[in-house]
């Protein structure tokens, strides 16, 4: 009788342990399925004050000669909180799942179509009037934040090779040549092309100060007051949340 009771208790304990283990393994499986890796790229326009605020919050400079430019996930949380402030304009933000071996494109939904070839079209019966022009060929240019990302080797250390081609293009103005119809766009463009290694939950921060011709106003952010712009590019390797 005693042995039978021991046997029953043992069985119950084993069944209980098995159930706990099964549940834990399923939860682990779900967690793995949810934690799909992804690359997040951000392009932020700010100024020296904004950059200073970030560095003050982090407690170190983003210049790795005196600080560091590779950030942990906790530090990115802090930066993300700061980015909601008025000093920062997020020009571009894209999250790209990396479960792919193909190049992934980031495209904004804005395009500018402009004429690149013209022909004369004088109005009928108006010999004295000005010559009019008719566009015969157009070109299209992507505006806003766009780029391409591709993923390379995953090293044993856990670091992922990433190729990043990012850019921002906006219409700077128009230049007219002889006739008001004969005008061509002037584009301002910032772009970077690099390949880097990132560990999961790491962020690489890169700082640029744009060409001075851009400085008359917010470079890519409209309606901002004139300032010495600073671009902050953040490339993060993390997981889908």
């Amino acid at each position: 009788m005693k042995h039978a009771r021991t046997l029953v208790v043992s069985c119950l304990v084993l069944v209980l342990l098995g159930a706990i283990f099964l549940g834990a393994s399923r939860a682990w499986g779900r967690r793995n399925r949810k934690r799909e890796p992804q690359l997040v790229v951000r392009f932020i326009e700010t100024d020296e004050q904004g950059l200073g605020a970030i560095e003050k919050s982090l407690g170190f400079s983003l210049d790795p000669q005196v600080g560091r430019c590779v950030l942990t996930s906790w530090e990115m949380v802090e930066i993300t909180r700061l980015l909601r402030g008025a000093d920062f304009e997020v020009i571009g933000h894209a999250a790209v799942p990396i479960d792919t071996k193909e190049r992934r494109a980031i495209r904004s939904d804005r395009q500018l179509r402009y004429a690149v070839d013209f022909e004369r079209a004088k109005p009928a019966g108006d010999d004295q009037g000005a010559t009019a022009y008719q566009a015969t060929e157009h070109d299209t240019r992507q505006l806003g934040f766009s780029g391409d990302v591709a993923f390379g080797k995953l090293w044993e250390s856990g670091r992922q090779e990433v190729e990043v081609v990012l850019g921002v293009t906006e219409l700077s103005g128009w230049k007219t040549f002889g006739h008001e119809n004969l005008r061509q766009p002037v584009f301002k463009t910032w772009s970077v092309n690099t390949r880097l290694l990132l560990d999961f939950d790491e962020t690489a921060a890169m700082v640029s100060r744009p060409y001075r011709a851009f400085e008359e106003s917010g470079v890519f952010s409209e309606g901002k007051p004139a300032r010495q712009a600073v671009f902050l590019i953040l490339v993060s390797l993390g997981y889908v949340h």
Partner: protein, 302 residues
């Protein structure tokens, strides 16, 4: 009793089997979450997409198809942070700058290699001068041996060829030729560099291509030809070595007469182009494998 023992052993085996199965499946899941090395060594097609102006395609004034070679060795490559700062200042004001109590520029020499602290001191001193301006600056993190490119440009389009016949522009306008084709030129800053680090050494070899150009104005060509851009450009290609964490300074590149030597109407040359000196700072640092985590731990300990 024997029966109870056999049931107990059977249940134990069942549990072990299920544990082993789950363990193996977990390992499989972990394995599939990593990418297959053999299939991911090659990146996709390189180069800039069209919206960046075709970038590497060697159009007017553009660089070639990059000069970095990409070969994956048996060990993980090093990662390098590089920074280039292109500035400009009145030559007279540059003479007054001192670093660590010593003149930055003397009649016979100038400082070319700076420690991080000296670099900050130089930038601080430069910013105090009214004529100082940062024309463009960029920092990039990249795998050693890779070509990196940063460009900050305005793309100017202008008529390149014209129709043969003069076109009336009405009573108020001037007659002009109809533009046949348009050309595109970039004005601004383009930085292109490749690093070469020897494992175990703290010297970074760098091949730097630098291009700066600006639109000085539009030239009135007369005779019905559309205005043509007057571009001032400066290209530099240099092969240099920097000790890890140090900054190389290149100065004394006078822009005086930069535009006037073109023997064009001097009224069209901006006055600001006179008596300027370019100061270029190039910095590089090898990033440790676990730079973020390691430094974060240090911070916690502190």
């Amino acid at each position: 009793m024997k029966r109870a023992e056999s049931i107990f052993i059977a249940l134990g085996l069942l549990l072990l089997t299920s544990f082993g199965g789950v363990l193996i499946s977990s390992l499989i899941v972990a394995g599939t979450s990593a990418q297959d090395d053999s299939e991911t060594e090659e990146f996709g097609e390189g180069g800039f997409p069209d919206e960046f102006g075709g970038g590497f395609e060697g159009e007017s004034g553009r660089f070639g198809d990059g000069f970095g070679t990409f070969t994956l060795g048996p060990s993980e490559p090093q990662q390098v942070w590089c920074e280039a700062i292109y500035t400009q200042i009145d030559t007279a004001e540059l003479d007054d700058i001192r670093i660590g109590g010593e003149p930055f520029v003397t009649p016979v020499s100038e400082r070319t290699l700076l420690t991080p602290v000296e670099k900050l001191e130089l930038l601080h001193e430069l910013k105090l001068r009214s004529s100082f301006e940062i024309i463009g600056a960029a920092s990039v993190v990249s795998i050693d041996g890779q070509c990196q490119l940063v460009q900050m440009v305005e793309e100017i389009r202008y008529p390149y060829t014209h129709d043969g016949a003069l076109v009336s522009n009405g009573a108020s306008g001037r007659p002009h030729y109809l533009a046949d084709d348009f050309e595109c030129r970039d004005t601004g800053i383009r930085l292109n560099w490749t690093t070469n680090c020897e494992p175990g050494h703290d010297v970074i070899g760098m091949l730097v291509l630098f291009e700066a150009s600006r639109l000085a104005g539009w030239l009135d060509m007369g005779s019905g030809i559309a205005d043509q851009p007057l571009m001032l450009s400066w290209n530099e290609m240099t092969d240099l070595y920097i000790r890890d964490g140090m900054t190389l300074v290149m100065t004394g590149i006078p822009l005086t007469g930069f535009g006037r030597s073109l023997a064009l109407d001097t009224d069209q040359i901006p006055e600001s182009m006179g008596s300027k000196t370019a100061v270029i700072l190039i910095s590089a640092r090898i990033l440790a494998l676990s730079d973020a985590g390691h430094k974060a731990e240090e911070g916690i300990e502190e």
